[in-house]
C-alpha cells in the first residue's frame, strides 16, 4: 500500500516542520528541489501516497514539477498538495488547472495539515482500489466471455455432428453414396448464397445459410423407415409403394421431432423444415402437406432444387445421367415441378457454379427415387 509522503521544499526548515507533523503516520521522503523530486517520483511512484509541493524553488520549480507529472500521467494517481506562502489567487487558480488536489497556505497548522493530507490520501486510496477492482472485474468478465465462446463453439460442433451422424445413417440405409449428401450440400450453399443479393426479404444471413447447408444433410433421413423392398426396388414403384415412399418426409420429420431436445432449436427447426417439405412444390402440388408459395419454408425450397438437380445429373442403372444443360432446362421449364420464380432466377444465375460442382464429384451415385418421384 502507498504510505509515503514526499515533501518538496527548498527551505530545510519547512521540510522539517512537515516531516514532524506527518512522521507518525507516514514514511517521509524529502526533496530539496524539483529535480530531486522528479527523480524520486521516477523510482518510487508506486509507494508515494501524496506529494507536498512548494512552488518557489530554484531551477526546477513547483510548476515545472506539475508539468512533468502531467506529462508522465501521474496526476491521476498521486495527489498533489501545494504548500506555499503565496497569497495570490491567480497562482492558486493556475495550480488547480494542473489538477492539484489542494492548496495549503503557510503557516503550517499541525492539525489542519494532518487532516488534509489524511483526507486526500484516503480519497485516492479509495479511488485506486476502485480502479483495481473494476479492472479485475473486467478481466473476469473477459474470461467468462471466452468460456462462453468456447462452449458456444462446442455446442455448434455438437449440432453439426448430430446432423452429420443423421446424414451418414441415411447413406448406409439407402446405399446412396455419401456423395449425394455432399453434393446436395454444395448445391444448397451455392443457391442459398445467391438469394440475399436480390431478395433480402428472406433474411438469409451467413449464420442462417450455414445452418441450412448443414441441415440439408438430413433431408432424406426418413428413408431409414421405408422397407427395403420399396426403398431398393429397381424400376417403377406401384401407386401404393409410391405412397409409402413419399412418407419418408413425414417419418423423417417425426424422427427429428423426437430428438429435437438434444440439439439447438434453430438446427432442429431448419432440419425439420427441410426434411418434411423438400418435396413440396410452389404450386401446391407437392407433398406431404401440399404447401404452396412462400408457405414452404425457404430452407426446403432451396434444398428441393439442389436435390432435384443432383438427381438429374446423376447416372443410375436404369437411366443415363442427363446432361447438365438438360437438367438445368428441365428445372427451369417446370419438368420436375414448379419452383419459386425468385429462386429460379437465382438458380439460372449460378448455372455455371452448379456445373462446376457437379463435375468435381463422380456421377456414379444413386438418385433414382428423387428422379422417379419428381420428374415426368
Amino acid at each position: 500500500m502507498r504510505n509515503t509522503v514526499l515533501i518538496v521544499d527548498d527551505a530545510e526548515l519547512n521540510r522539517e516542520i512537515l516531516a514532524e507533523i506527518l512522521g507518525n503516520e507516514y514514511n517521509i521522503m524529502l526533496a530539496e528541489d524539483g529535480k530531486v523530486a522528479l527523480q524520486i517520483l521516477e523510482s518510487n511512484h508506486e509507494d508515494i501516497a501524496v506529494l507536498l509541493l512548494d512552488l518557489n524553488m530554484p531551477e526546477i520549480d513547483g510548476f515545472d514539477v506539475l508539468k512533468e507529472m502531467q506529462r508522465r500521467d501521474l496526476m491521476n494517481r498521486i495527489p498533489v498538495l501545494i504548500i506555499s506562502g503565496e497569497t495570490s489567487l491567480n497562482v492558486e487558480r493556475k495550480c488547480f488547472e494542473y489538477n492539484i488536489s489542494d492548496f495549503i497556505r503557510k503557516p503550517f497548522d499541525n492539525t489542519l495539515v494532518r487532516r488534509r493530507v489524511n483526507n486526500i490520501v484516503k480519497l485516492f486510496q479509495y479511488q485506486n482500489e476502485l480502479e483495481d477492482t473494476v479492472s479485475m472485474q473486467t478481466k473476469e468478465l473477459r474470461e467468462q466471455y471466452q468460456l462462453l465462446k468456447k462452449q458456444a463453439e462446442k455446442l455448434h460442433k455438437r449440432n453439426t455432428d448430430i446432423i452429420d451422424i443423421l446424414g451418414t445413417v441415411v447413406e448406409y440405409r439407402d446405399f446412396e453414396s455419401g456423395e449425394h449428401v455432399m453434393r446436395v450440400k454444395g448445391f444448397t450453399k451455392i443457391l442459398a448464397q445467391e438469394i440475399p443479393k436480390d431478395y433480402p426479404e428472406y433474411g438469409l444471413t451467413d449464420e442462417i445459410i450455414e445452418v441450412i447447408v448443414s441441415a440439408s444433410a438430413t433431408h432424406d433421413i426418413g428413408k431409414i423407415a421405408i422397407p427395403d423392398n420399396i426403398l431398393l426396388k429397381p424400376g417403377r414403384l406401384t401407386d401404393e409403394e409410391f405412397a409409402c415412399m413419399k412418407s419418408h418426409t413425414t417419418r423423417g420429420s417425426e424422427i427429428l421431432n423426437n430428438i429435437k431436445y438434444i440439439w439447438d432449436e434453430e438446427y432442429a427447426q431448419v432440419s425439420y423444415d427441410i426434411c418434411r417439405h423438400h418435396h413440396e412444390r410452389y404450386d401446391g402440388k407437392g407433398y406431404p402437406d401440399g404447401l404452396a408459395g412462400e408457405d414452404i419454408p425457404i430452407a426446403a425450397q432451396i434444398v428441393s432444387i439442389a436435390d432435384v438437380y443432383d438427381a438429374l445429373v446423376s447416372e443410375r442403372v436404369y437411366k443415363k445421367a442427363f446432361s447438365k444443360d438438360e437438367a438445368f432446362q428441365m428445372i427451369i421449364n417446370g419438368k420436375c415441378g414448379v419452383f419459386s420464380p425468385k429462386l429460379l432466377k437465382c438458380f439460372s444465375r449460378v448455372k455455371k457454379e452448379f456445373e462446376e460442382l457437379a463435375d468435381r464429384y463422380s456421377t456414379s451415385g444413386s438418385a433414382q427415387q428423387v428422379y422417379e418421384n419428381n420428374c415426368e
Binding site: L13, I17, K106, N110
Partner: protein, 120 residues
C-alpha cells in the same frame, strides 16, 4: 527569559505558533533552526549583484519561514520586499531591504540571547 518573552521582544506571535505546532519544545527547535538559514545572506548578495529573480525567491522563502515560525514583524517586512521584487526590482526595494535587515537582526539577536541563557 522564556521563549514567549523572546518572541515578544522581536515582534513575534508566540501564542499563534504554539497553537499551530502544538508543542513548546518543537517551537523552540524550529526557531533555533532559523539561525542556520542562509536565505538572508543570499538575499543581500543577489540584490547587490542585480540578480532580482533569485533575490525575489530568497525574500519569498524568508517570508514563508516567518509565517511558519510566527515571526510576525519580519514576516510583514519580508512580504513587502517580496512583492517589490516580484516583477524585477521596483522603487523602494532598497529601503524595504533595510527594514528587513533591521527586523532580521532583531530576531537573530534575540534568539541567540535566549539560546545562550538556556541551562546546559
Amino acid at each position: 527569559m522564556t521563549l514567549r518573552e523572546c518572541y515578544d521582544s522581536f515582534g513575534g506571535n508566540y501564542e499563534e505558533v504554539l497553537s499551530r505546532l502544538m508543542d513548546d519544545k518543537r517551537v523552540q527547535r524550529f526557531a533555533f533552526k532559523f539561525l542556520d538559514d542562509t536565505n538572508f545572506e543570499t538575499l543581500c548578495e543577489c540584490l547587490k549583484n542585480g540578480n532580482y529573480e533569485d533575490a525575489f525567491r530568497a525574500a519569498h522563502t524568508i517570508k514563508g519561514l516567518c509565517l511558519n515560525l510566527g515571526f510576525e514583524r519580519l514576516r510583514v517586512s519580508s512580504d513587502e520586499l517580496t512583492e517589490a521584487l516580484r516583477n524585477g526590482k521596483s522603487d523602494g526595494a532598497e529601503e524595504l531591504l533595510e527594514k528587513v535587515r533591521a527586523d532580521y537582526i532583531e530576531v537573530i539577536t534575540a534568539l541567540k540571547e535566549y539560546q545562550e541563557q538556556l541551562p546546559g
